[in-house]
């Protein structure tokens, strides 16, 4: 499952136009065709452009990529009045391919003019919500710090990819603090492998220098490998491009992650733009048990199971109330009434040695998100320790959920 996050799509002619200003197609960077009069211009790809795009996508699928993010480029700033999502017009026209996932991405190239503002404002959130991923391409040190520090914080406008041009003569000095902050916030740095295949000698050499610098500063994590070109000749298979990165200083498994798992988690994280403060969870309400008797019973039952041996008759965990009398005398023989599942009692001794019920939660940290939910919810009495802490304090259940999801969020962002 290889992911290519930068399949550049040239801007089509936007119709209708007052003066025939067609889009210029230079290497990966386009000027947006300006339509002056009509704010809602129709975007149409002509047949030749469509054919080219289709053949490029065919080639990418043949080389082994299954997830493609089609990229629309914007230079300097996004004019919120005239900007249209050209990919929305393109996607319905593409042939249906099974097993291939298409995503929409917007890359904004930042230069000196964009320091004051380039359209990524709260007011224009509607415009950017139609893109799955937003990427920034800083070309000056000030825009680099702007991108790394302010635009990676969780919001509906987060730019999750920071793509630094590697073929330009002045390689940006990547300050370690900036890069570290961006990575901590969840952003990812992108390396376009097409720079290594350029005709121009000096661009190639700059690419090698830039790629090595990137791998050094990011320590190999939070890197994403992508093509960045419109030309079919410069595309390469994912493992080939990964091998180029190993020659630039990455370890082999890091290069593999850069093409598979890092972009996958990035895409998932990019979906958090639609959530509040980048929290991905489905909290389920745990209704608190209001029967005081049952709570006391479970407390004593946990004490007894810790003390008792593992000679309990097998019984299923109960949602119902145990029939126990008011006087809870700690009598081992009365445990037959209390439904304690035996495997838990034998492991209860083990769990008694572990101090907190959060041990279950700590194990849950390694489990996936769904499992964390299910395990906490469906077996509330499975862990006798859990029975005391979680059921007695139902907000803990919610807090457990929240902390579980927070753990999950942190885990995703740290990528450890």
């Amino acid at each position: 499952m290889y992911v290519d996050l930068n399949v550049t799509i040239p801007a089509p002619a936007i119709q209708p136009q007052k003066h025939g200003q067609s889009s210029k197609k230079s290497k990966g960077k386009q000027q947006q065709a300006e339509s002056l009069a009509q704010p809602t211009a129709t975007v149409a790809f002509n047949a030749a452009q469509l054919a080219k795009i289709e053949s490029r996508i065919d080639l990418l699928v043949r080389l082994g990529y299954t997830v493609l993010a089609l990229t629309q480029n914007a230079v300097s700033k996004v004019d919120t009045k005239t900007h249209t999502n050209t990919l929305d017009a393109l996607l319905p026209n593409l042939r249906k391919r099974e097993g291939v996932l298409f995503l929409k991405r917007l890359t904004i190239e930042l230069d000196n003019e964009s320091e004051k503002g380039f359209g990524l404002t709260q007011a224009a959130t509607q415009l950017f919500s139609s893109y799955d991923i937003i990427a920034l391409r800083p070309t000056t040190p000030s825009t680099l710090s702007l991108a790394c520090l302010s635009h990676t914080t969780p919001s509906p406008l987060t730019a999750h990819i920071i793509s630094i041009p590697l073929t330009s003569p002045q390689t940006l000095r990547l300050k370690h603090t900036l890069v570290r902050t961006a990575i901590k916030n969840g952003a990812v740095f992108e390396i376009d492998y097409s720079g290594a295949l350029e005709d121009n000698d000096s661009e190639r050499r700059n690419w090698w220098a830039g790629a090595r610098e990137m791998t050094r500063v990011t320590k190999g994590k939070s890197l994403v490998l992508s093509s960045g070109t419109e030309s079919c000749q410069l595309l390469r298979a994912p493992r080939d491009a990964g091998n180029l990165l190993t020659l630039a200083g990455l370890a082999q498994d890091q290069a593999h992650h850069a093409a598979t798992s890092t972009p996958k988690s990035l895409i998932l994280r990019a979906q958090t733009r639609k959530t509040y403060r980048a929290i991905l969870s489905e909290p389920k309400l745990i209704m608190p048990e209001t029967n005081f008797q049952s709570l006391i019973a479970k407390e004593t039952q946990s004490e007894m199971s810790v003390a008792a041996s593992s000679s309990q008759p097998p019984e299923s965990p109960p949602p119902a109330l145990p029939q126990v009398s008011e006087n809870e005398d700690v009598n081992p023989h009365s445990t037959t009434v209390l439904p304690v599942p035996p495997p838990q009692s034998s492991s209860g001794a083990e769990k008694a040695s572990s101090s907190t019920a959060l041990n279950g939660g700590a194990n849950g940290k390694k489990r996936s998100h769904d499992q964390l939910n299910l395990d906490e919810l469906e077996t509330p009495t499975s862990n006798p320790q859990n029975a005391t802490s979680k059921n007695l304090h139902p907000p803990n259940g919610g807090g457990g959920e929240g902390s579980g999801s927070r753990k999950r969020k942190k885990k995703g962002k740290d990528k450890t």
Binding site: A196, D240, L244
Partner: protein, 156 residues
Amino acid sequence: MVRFKNRWLLVEFIPCTKDEPSYSPSEGINSKHIWSALKDSIIANFGDSGWGAVASSLTVKYFSPMTNLSIIRVARDHHQIAWGAVTLLRTVQGKSYLPNVIHVSGTIKHTQLSAISHNRETVARIRAHSKLPALYRSTIDDYLEKSTKEIEALQD
């Protein structure tokens, strides 16, 4: 044990005429041309020292112009240099190609298996494209048999 370890690269050279990739067979290219193109690429990208690391063990064992499939053997220690040079190749004998490394393995056995299955998939694709009925045996299938025998005959 000081055994000499190799890596076998299964590379498909996709001909890329006028910026459009195609499946067509290539004319006038043989394994010697591939070898010299690879040598030029290594010297241009990795210098004389890169060539020195790889030269004694670099061999193009098999090349089929019909399917553009080639099997290249390199020593294991510096196979990444040779692999990188394959990736950075853009032209062979003046014609532009797109190198696609399908399989990398440590023995010839798995390379052979991978090559044979790749050929079978290519032939199946060609047959599906030209909509041949299932039992019709055409020249493509003869070629498949012949190339399978050639591949299996390869020796270390």
